[in-house]
Symmetry: C2
Subunit: 469 residues, 2 copies
Amino acid sequence: MITPVILAGGSGTRLWPLSRKSYPKQFAAFGGAQSLFQDTVTRLSGAGMGRPVVVTSEAFRFIVTEQLGEIGIPPETVFVEPEGRDTAAAILLAALSLADDPDRLMLVAPSDHAIPDAAAFRAAVDEGAVSAREGRIVTFGIAPDRAETGYGYLELHDAAEDTRARPLVRFVEKPDKARAEEMLATGRYLWNAGIFLMRVGTLLEAFAVHAPDLVEPVQASLDKARPDLGFLRPEAGAWGEVRKVSIDYAIMEKTKDLVVVPFPGKWTDLGDWEAVRITHADADGVAGSGDVTAIDCRDSLLWSEGEGQALVGLGLDNIVAVAMPDAVLVADRSRSQDVKQVVEVLRDREAPQADTFTRDHRPWGWFESLALGPRFQVKRIFVHPGGRLSLQSHVHRAEHWIVVEGSAEVTVGDDVRMVFENQSIYVPQGAVHRLANPGKVGLTLIEVQTGAYLGEDDIIRHEDVYSRS
Amino acid sequence: MITPVILAGGSGTRLWPLSRKSYPKQFAAFGGAQSLFQDTVTRLSGAGMGRPVVVTSEAFRFIVTEQLGEIGIPPETVFVEPEGRDTAAAILLAALSLADDPDRLMLVAPSDHAIPDAAAFRAAVDEGAVSAREGRIVTFGIAPDRAETGYGYLELHDAAEDTRARPLVRFVEKPDKARAEEMLATGRYLWNAGIFLMRVGTLLEAFAVHAPDLVEPVQASLDKARPDLGFLRPEAGAWGEVRKVSIDYAIMEKTKDLVVVPFPGKWTDLGDWEAVRITHADADGVAGSGDVTAIDCRDSLLWSEGEGQALVGLGLDNIVAVAMPDAVLVADRSRSQDVKQVVEVLRDREAPQADTFTRDHRPWGWFESLALGPRFQVKRIFVHPGGRLSLQSHVHRAEHWIVVEGSAEVTVGDDVRMVFENQSIYVPQGAVHRLANPGKVGLTLIEVQTGAYLGEDDIIRHEDVYSRS
């Protein structure tokens, strides 16, 4: 049995506007039916695989449970880190939680990598499991198809074509272009994918030897962890004392027990839009997704995420264009690494698009603003089956609700009633009210707010099943 | 007294997605408070100017009256051409309608030019009026500030710096780059702006001499013209026989009575996005409008027309990017002239964005779709004061209306009632209903449609004040 340990706490901004602090890239779909996180969990499920342990952050905890629910894979544990302390702490936390079974194998994987051929990857995992059971730490190396300067490399003694596990010579930092070309020519170098497989006991021993200072605070934080609505929250005080260090630096670059399993399939960490372009490029180097029309374009990315938003490229060469309903990025391809800078500029301007989406995810579902006028706002609200909004009231606005799909249980003052599809109900200004979905299917309703002030902060929470009041 | 004759029937697509067949560029605002059409009418109003005669097409007639209403300038006549027959026919039609006063001056102007300094332009018109009263046809020439190859030129005997009226040597077709640079160097050439000033009688005499075949069918079409809701519709049969020819070719290049008044101010015909960029460019050659952020950009246009749609350019050089909620164009600047081609490709794909906007203009106001779901649609509807929708019914859908601004008179079956701000009403499937705004301010309501089929063609019109049933 292998337990997948999925790292899902990152919040990269180099794929802005699709990846934002409030909803980063691992939870977005890049042209596929599932998000990268869902693909990762799915890839590591099935025969021989246990329930996943997910490590994420406060901001993403409900996205994790929502996305796991969608694919029907229940987690073993979802850890909510009080704050990000880099990968060594997150992985050690997972290992300690599995310490009662030191022979169990754990497969550590980031949640934002794309690996289209899941079967080939599972074959590599099976190859690695043999070495892992023998007490090795197995890392997976990707056979490079270009002289990439954006990844670290793993050096082997002999050609990487042979996909059997073998010892690592050494880690190589991100190279310059000339060095990358040299390495590619030798055939002895692989990209370091940051995916690891080993016995729980092997990893804990390695921590005891190479990073002993991490063990005590992480263990203390785990011992005092608090269960909360299905999540497990490590204690914040001890957690805050854990040294911030990557697993590569803390363990992998120090241990002598490392072996490499070459993976010959396609892989990308989708680190920036250029990586996305390479993954989806046609013969002209053009990658498109969504409602896109490319006329006389070369080596460009055209990505439309908007419902009914047509993106047209004309005569483009080396351009990255990403369109969403609230934000459009057009960048020279050579500047893909600088998209972070865009986010910083937008933050300085206090533009909401820097970090948040128009669709706002909440524990009970999500809402999005469809139109904002001088004294009114229209929202689409979706409530999961079983979801319950807080018992609340607003000082400045009244609300009209029209149920367009599913059934709503609506409380207004002392009155509790069911509102069915194609029915509406009015919530007067100041009235204490609650919306819930007691049904078995999702509830979609249109809310029309009227009033002089329509900000999200005009809310008095009287009671909340998600402990937010 | 000078009567402006405004040509507003064009439907250019080179400024797609801002200019579309259903709502072309002359009715759009290019960074200003008013549309180009409104700017043109405003520029040609005031002391000494009569009410405008507007020539437009069937598709734009309500946009014309709406936009004139917004700026409070009532027209003398709004001609609705049964079909476009080029500029000679449109101008002759206006002249014949003014024939009872042959000494009246008429100023013919396209509605899609930008002339920021209206006072300087009026001074040029005053200068031209002297010659026009003497029986000359006056054309206005723009002092060029670059070797533009996209415009025709007017050749003078002497330097164009002198802004007094003087005879034309000859018209020059659009030149190549080398020829344009030669002409610019001489200082004796002006851009042909296509704006003309003359006595009505002078123009009619010129038609009689140089294009006599046009006179009879245009006169016949005018004689049988049908007034319709404030518009005047030339008779279609005779109109269809009129030769399609431009005013330049039919009259201006033939008459000996032409004089030129040089106009030294800024002018552009906004013929394509490159012209828009030049008009708005900063020191780096970057033009921006709307919610736009340019980082390390040069010689590029960044144009955002979306409410709350942030457009970001990063490291761009020679790129045109135009963002609207339903369509985004990203083009190499050298391909600005080829945007027409984009529209053709989108038409072939039957993309609605090729020709129409999400906001749909009707005689009574407009509506736009805010959200379209599997069994519901949300629309924002605006009804002008006095506007009345048709008495109608739908087979497949029910409608909820919530009034968010103004007051609505709602008919459902035999019931007629007023619905005020923050009130709602329900229109059941199949019910005969009507919406009207009897108030003095605009009416905004949110419509939530529910049903299995939500197409615009599910409408039975029982009665319509705009004769559309």
